[in-house]
């Protein structure tokens, strides 16, 4: 990032909107001349804004290996996201980034068997790293994905999961929904207990993403299975305004989630005050 870009965004065009679930849409963003807005690594984020409404941080859902465009899966839950959900293809918004530290895909993750565990919209940041691994398959071991949602209609990006991930060699995808539902013959139950039921080998590196309550119980399940906190990664999400560690909002202990995160290992989180 150059000095010039500090806090000043670029224009992005929404070129495609996919309705994934009743409250999640995936937006494809390009520059006005049809290019990818900027390069990033899995786990990094970008600030999106609608002038006059506001700006907020979103994790980049698409993999950096996608040379053509950038995607954001966004759940409608507040002011800006409601406005985003009301936009149409062709609408311009603003975008700046990338921000934060990515998942250690070129270091700690390399050569490892990976276990991804996501709940609901928590799949958004994981999709980036999962697809990055698919595109650099030889560099990583076996991949397991446990993905759960409230209902079958709330599973984000189910088409890609079923048609692509499930057909990938050495890829195991385990889907679950909270309550039984007509037309669903898969697993029913919460993610933490499903993880325990599946019982993974502790040589894996795990990445957890989802609502705080799911993270809390799933971490406990992993510990029960024999995982150590040094093997489990997650991402934090706090209010942000600047994205560069200065506005003070996402400060936890001596860290800024926008700059020092959003990716943290659980043993690193243990050193921070529990205020996230």
């Amino acid at each position: 990032m150059t000095d010039h870009e500090m806090l000043i965004p670029s224009v992005g065009v929404i070129t495609d909107i996919r309705k994934d679930t009743p409250d999640v849409k995936t937006f494809r963003i390009l520059t006005p001349d049809g290019k990818k807005p900027f390069e990033h690594m899995p786990g990094q984020c970008a600030m999106l804004s609608i002038p006059g409404v506001g700006e907020a941080m979103f994790s980049i859902t698409s993999s950096p290996t996608n040379r053509e465009f950038m995607e954001f899966s966004i759940k409608k839950c507040g002011c800006l996201t409601s406005w985003l959900h009301a936009l149409e293809v062709g609408q311009q918004i603003t975008i700046r980034g990338p921000y934060g530290n990515p998942f250690p895909v070129n270091t700690e993750f390399k050569g490892k068997d990976m276990l991804f565990i996501a709940g609901g919209i928590g799949l958004a940041p994981l999709r980036s790293v999962i697809n990055y691994i698919r595109d650099n398959r030889a560099d990583y071991g076996k991949v397991d994905v446990v993905y759960g949602s409230r209902s079958k209609d709330d599973l984000v990006d189910i088409r890609e999961i079923q048609e692509e991930w499930m057909n990938e060699p050495d890829f195991n995808v385990h889907l679950t929904i909270d309550r039984a539902q007509e037309g669903w013959d898969g697993h029913v139950g919460f993610v933490p207990s499903y993880v325990e039921e599946l019982g993974f080998d502790t040589n894996k590196t795990a990445v957890l993403c989802g609502p705080p309550i799911m993270i809390k119980f799933t971490l406990a399940s992993l510990i029960k299975l024999g995982f150590s906190k040094e093997q489990v990664y997650t991402t934090l999400e706090l209010r942000m305004k600047c994205g560069i560690g200065k506005c003070g909002r996402c400060n936890v202990g001596d860290k800024y989630v926008c700059k020092d995160g959003p990716v943290f290992r659980f043993d690193q989180l243990d050193e921070l005050p529990n205020e996230y």
């Binding site: 002038p51 506001g54 506005c247 001596d254």
Partner: protein
Amino acid sequence: MFKVKLTQLNALLDALAASYPVFAPIVEAGEANYGEYKAGAEVNLFKQTVKSAKDAFFPQSQDLMKFRTEGKKIDIIDLRRDIAPFVIFGVRACDVKSFEILDRVFLSEPVDTFYKARREKGVIVSLACAKPEESCFCTNFGIDATAPKGDVTTYTEGEYLYWIPNTDKGEQLTEAAANVLESADKADEKAVEEQKKRVGEVLRRLPNGDLDLSEFKPEKLNELFNDPDWDELSQSCLGCGSCTFVCPTCQCYDIRDFKTNDGVKRFRCWDSCMYTDFTKMAAVNSRNFQLQRFRQRFMHKLVYYPSNNDGICMCVGCGRCVKKCPISMNIVKVIKKVGGKKHD
């Protein structure tokens, strides 16, 4: 060293204002605050300004950019303009030190270009304290109020304002005021030295001049965070944010959009971690209680910032918060209470 009669203060400022915009402590409704000097303004060098001098480099409200929208299209208009060199006059040692603290935030990578542009163009005329107040506690932070830095250091003693340029920028400023400044002699230098000695004695006897900060170590971060005394200390905090707004080192900010007749303006403004919506997101708030917000402010100043900045505290002991807090809670009480016991 140069000098000018205090009765000629306005003449000095007029001379500077002929070449530079000048920000000085101007009295309005009985209170002094930094404002742009205009001929004839009432400048008071003896009152502490209510707000600090940080406004000069980190304005309370600052336009960042503008958006014009037409149909589905957006135009982004950069509002950054070249800033002319300006003078900030009468800055006490505590506020001079606060600039170093702010620099470590705004000038660290990625550099805040809005801050940097103003910082580079600011010429600082500091002012030694002739009469420290009871609320002052700058001595705890390695600050010598009798010898402030800056491009020019000034002293008020007897009938005179003494003027000592320290840098090239300061020399240039001296030239701009050459018609008003006269050369000082040995007797003047002695007068300044005597003031330093006299005020130094007062500083050594400040009621809160010798606080024990040794407990606030980064490695005790979690123990300090979990100190049970935060509860009692924060009980009466109104969350008004006065302390953050008068503080020379509080630097948290908000970015907001404002609809105008000519597009949308995006600006940033000072914000306060003491406010309920500071960390509020659509679904949750990571600091729901005043205890958490209160603790955040002091932990940031005494532990988090020092942890990232070679042990330097984010406080300069100016005492503004001590004077302004409507319930008389302040960082001195926090340092005494939380820092007054061991955290193992």
